[in-house]
Symmetry: C2
């Protein structure tokens, strides 16, 4: 393994820096009192300089700044929060952090938070079990935070949201509207309905649905929109396929679907599932979109690169995260009492959809 050459001195350099910072005292980190003494001012004056709140004479300000850098002083976050009662961090509670939608949403929250000087603490809730949710919540509550954003994308998120203490400012992020809770949403149902309607208009007799694991018994917004589109068109509503987050399971599903020649269109709960289905279909010799149309959801960064490029719904997860943070700040600073923010995702037509191979019995209107 290659070793960086320019860094051999790092540890030595560190200890030198450490010694320089120590100045008079032994090893205890410098406090504001140390700075005040060295600068010949009072502690509150140091505080004023550092927080920039009140006006301080240029002379003292200068001496304070000099003392700060001489001592390598860094204020204690804990003391600051305790005294001011204004934590500069929020928590994000999520069932996952790695999957595309989750990761992008968190990225959006983080970017918005960082712009306001807030850090974002991540707490994942792995399962909806009572115990696991409790553990996660306890972890959230032992942090010094101003509020929390809960990703209500899945059962763990739903459970966690339900158990958030009522006096902590909370914002829920999801695809389904819910009253009573401050929340930002993406109108998934509307977009799903539009996407499925498009398939129906292409002439498909119906559209099958492979959902992602739903956050609610009734199914999530995507499933709702799918059902709505079918009903509106008078098309039969086939039972949803077995929900999964795994593209590999979806590939298996695709192979099985290949045998059923009456399925000509599949609406997948997300793009990764669509990729799996397309691959499974191909394994079994059925082509997309010539034999079977397949659509996804989310506009995963690789959806446009897939063969064929996947028709999908672009979800602005990053923006969802940003809106969630904004809502939370409104609550934290009591600067706004907006409780709801919604955006409509946009259908993106690509190559994975086409009319069914043979005119379907009851073609679209």
């Amino acid at each position: 393994m290659d070793v960086e050459r320019d860094s051999d001195m790092d540890s030595e350099r560190d200890s030198r820096r450490r010694a320089a910072a120590g100045t008079a005292e032994v090893k205890r980190p410098a406090t504001m009192a140390d700075v005040a003494k060295l600068a010949g001012v009072s502690v509150p004056t140091v505080s004023r300089v550092l927080s920039g709140a009140a006006r301080v004479s240029p002379l003292k300000r200068e001496r304070v700044e000099a003392a700060v850098s001489a001592l390598g002083f860094r204020p204690s976050a804990a003391a600051r929060i305790l005294a001011s009662r204004r934590p500069k961090a929020i928590a994000v509670v999520a069932g996952d952090t790695s999957k595309y939608g989750y990761a992008e949403t968190i990225r959006g929250v983080e970017a918005a938070a960082r712009a306001e000087g807030f850090a974002v603490a991540i707490i994942v809730v792995e399962s909806p079990d009572e115990e696991e949710v409790g553990r996660a919540l306890r972890l959230v509550l032992t942090q010094a935070i101003a509020g929390a954003v809960v990703l209500k994308f899945d059962p763990p998120g739903v459970r966690a949201l339900r158990r958030m203490p009522p006096d902590l400012p909370v914002v829920a992020l999801s695809g389904v509207r819910q009253t009573g809770v401050r929340q930002a949403v993406l109108d998934e149902a509307g977009a799903a309905e539009e996407l499925v309607s498009h398939l129906l208009r292409l002439g498909h007799a119906t559209v099958h649905h492979l959902p992602v694991p739903p956050s609610r018994r009734e199914g999530d917004g995507r499933t709702t929109g799918w059902r709505r589109a079918l009903r509106a068109a008078g098309a039969p509503v086939p039972p949803p396929l077995a929900a999964t987050w795994s593209p590999h399971a979806a590939r298996e599903t695709g192979r099985e679907l290949a045998a059923e020649t009456d399925v000509t269109a599949v609406f997948c709960g997300n793009d990764e599932l669509a990729m799996g289905v397309i691959r499974g279909l191909a394994d079994a010799g059925r082509r997309t979109p010539e034999d079977v149309s397949v659509v996804g959801f989310d506009d995963h960064p690789l959806a446009a690169l897939w063969t064929p490029a996947i028709t999908t719904v672009r979800q602005d997860f990053f923006g969802l995260g940003e809106r969630g943070f904004a809502l939370l700040m409104g609550a934290v600073n009591a600067t706004s009492n907006r409780r709801f923010s919604s955006e409509r995702p946009e259908v993106v037509m690509r190559e994975s959809t086409a009319p069914p191979p043979r005119p379907a019995p009851r073609a679209g209107h």
Copy 2:
């Protein structure tokens, strides 16, 4: 948009809960003193019950617990940290959070941290600019944290690491060994060398390289391993292609590569780039692996699903994150002075590699 039915009462329920928690006082959150008074014990006893540190008589313990839940008491994290000097959070500093390797690494850190009761604060450093790095660092340092894990995957990470204060426990995570800093690594160079050697043994005269944007001038571990393999085999070392993180740019590169019939093998800095290259090659009518072999790096979850399934190197980013956290805890608790942890990623053979179309002029050794 559909609205959840069971939640219409939420806000009303909340206010009821709030009122119940308020009991005697107005709206100030309950403190330990309140609990102590109600339970008829001293404040330290309450503390003992809550932290479980010292033994408390069953009677008092019970009364304390009753008081706690009656008041809906939750200890102040800030006060706790200030008094105990033991923050229960760490920071992760990263140039990105969404890309596969980053997201998985963070997930690993978070999981390990959560198991120890630590929260993970994410701070992203968007660019290596002096100013941006300073901003991010300031944000890190205004948090009450026990230490930090820095993802040294890119220039922002490298810069941030360099500027971490010497008295904060820090662990670097990367693919390249560096002395002087506590770090966990993946031996990317070794694995890359193995992968490229495999291509050479297949009969390719040389292997071209499309790097990800490197963290160092000399190139990262992947590039180093590639060069080493070529040199060891006496193969020519072509100039690396233009580095990028974008699969779409890689697609363009693939299209261009299609014109150069002497390139028969391409080693991509990660799987997403490999996907782009394969797609671009296909756009131009060249097939993988019949005409051109393409390999990636990381074992992205979609690499096995791609057509053709991509030969790559499986990187255990999650494990990297876990190891990083463990190293950090060793430093924080002064319980271990291990400073280095390395794992060797594993080559995964799949379908995107084959011998070159025509026997190359100087076939493998």
